[in-house]
Amino acid sequence: MRANFIFSEVWIGLRRNLTMTIAVIITVAVGMAMLGVGLMINAQVGMMKDYWYDKVEVSVFLCTKNSDMPSCKGKAVTQGQTQALKQQIEGLPGVEQVFYEDQATAYKNFQDAYSNQKALADAAKVEDMPTSFRIKLENPDNYQPVIQALQGQPGVAQVINQRDLISQFFTMLDKLRYAAVVVAVVLVLAAALLIGNTVRLSAFNRRRETGIMRLVGASNLYIQLPFVMEGMIAGLIGGVFAAVMLIVTKVLLFDEVAQFLSSTAATIGWDDVASVITLTMIIGVVICVLASFVTLRRYLRV
């Protein structure tokens, strides 16, 4: 009886306010989708960081003949210097593994990397390639001491931390993520205001009914519940649309990223999408209910 009555009231309210209800649904949908995308990018960036930071190495390039680097003084590294460096690196704390990359391997890698730029690949000769040590660290965050210890050692041309290269990329992704969250917050705010307005319109449209309800002694909950439910249902429908948008984003954007990285380990899976959808749904509904309640507090006094 009670549920029946309240649902019929809710249905009447949603139908009478159709345009406003649609506006609420769209705003909630877009706002929640933005928030969800922000959260998904967040998860994605986190995973990519884990994936790549795990792979990054400190590269110690050794001098070649005619090297431009001032530390080389134009001389190639000697066999003895290479041996000494290898021992020094192995003795450094925090070093997990050291690989020595000779000129032949370096040449092969170079050819692979620039296979689509024929002229450059052809121009390079084996003896131009620098030999290098590739150092894998136990803790990639702890790279400073290793770099400091090796910089300027005899025979060392340059020490490069690959992490510095990708961190620029991550800075950009971080900005993207913050932008998505800011837009989402603004949209969620707009949605809350719109819901407040819709509920107020709805309450105004039905002031006759609510007036009689108060007169015959209906409890506040009974009077307010249909309006709050209206907000909630609009929020829920908006949440469903947001969920669809998020699923589409996952397929069109994140799965593309996965293909680009040719690794599913570094991209978010469906379980991440499910938890993001759940979270945005809950946030959407809670905001709708709160906005309805706050508006009604001011509008439907006893």
């Binding site: 009886m1 009670r2 009555f5 006759r208 009914e209 007036g211 009689i212 309800m213 108060r214 007169l215 015959v216 002694g217 209906a218 409890s219 506040n220 009974y222 009077i223 006893v302």
Partner: protein, 229 residues
């Protein structure tokens, strides 16, 4: 049943009190006319009984409850024991007679079986048998007021407040309305009716309380409308 003790009500932004130190007692089962010119405080009196307004000073007891101590949370329960009828009927235009009366019970969560049983009884009591499925705009003013009375009475309130119930109705039809009010009164319900209608007051010979500028100027059992003049 209704007890006003030295009640004063001043609306904000107004200097003159709407009710000025009013003390009055209405017993259970009484029928009281509240008369006086517009702005004399009749409607304020009724609104205070419903706790739609709060007095500035004085105490009000309704159905044994001190309204000043009644929390907002419990006001709906007070109102379930008071029925209300107005000059403008206040029916829902998109509901028929039966639904309008049933609405009052639905919104206080009465079970459907109970509603099915009592609504036709009340519709018959106010003399609208056979018209349960008419819409308000298919009814005359008198019939609409009967629907409003059925709605006010369907929950068997202890008190029925009527604010100029015959104000929009011609004299011949008003007699019918008064008969229904009298019938309701005979079931033991206390009736307080604010009115301008001298003929009705004179014909009923009930207690008359006259207000003027917020003060009680006459309180007379078996009174008539214009005796003070």
């Amino acid at each position: 049943m209704i007890h006003f003790d030295n009640v004063t009500k001043v609306y904000t932004n107004q200097n003159r009190p709407a009710l000025d130190h009013v003390s009055v007692d209405v017993d259970k089962g009484e029928f009281v006319f509240l008369v006086g010119p517009s702005g004399s405080g009749k409607s304020t009196f009724l609104r205070l009984v419903l706790k739609e307004e709060r007095p500035n000073s004085g105490a009000i007891h309704v159905a044994g409850k001190d309204l000043a101590r009644l929390s907002n949370f419990k006001v709906p329960h007070l109102r379930r024991r008071i029925g209300c009828v107005f000059q403008d009927f206040r029916l829902l235009p998109n509901k028929n007679v039966y639904e309008n009366v049933a609405f009052a019970l639905e919104v206080i969560g009465k079970p459907r079986r109970f509603i099915r049983k009592v609504v036709p009884e009340v519709i018959e009591l106010v003399g609208l048998e056979g018209k349960a499925h008419r819409m308000p705009d298919e009814l005359s003013g008198g019939e609409q007021q009967r629907v409003a009375m059925a709605r006010a009475f369907v929950n068997r309130p202890m008190i029925l407040l009527a604010d100029e119930p015959t104000g929009n109705i011609d004299p011949a039809t008003s007699i019918g309305i008064m008969k229904v009010l009298d019938r309701i009164n005979r079931t033991g319900t206390t009736v307080v009716m604010a009115t301008h209608d001298a003929a009705i007051v004179d014909s009923m010979r009930k207690r008359v309380v006259e207000l003027e500028d917020g003060k009680i100027v006459r309180d007379q059992s078996r009174g008539v409308y214009g005796q003070a003049y």
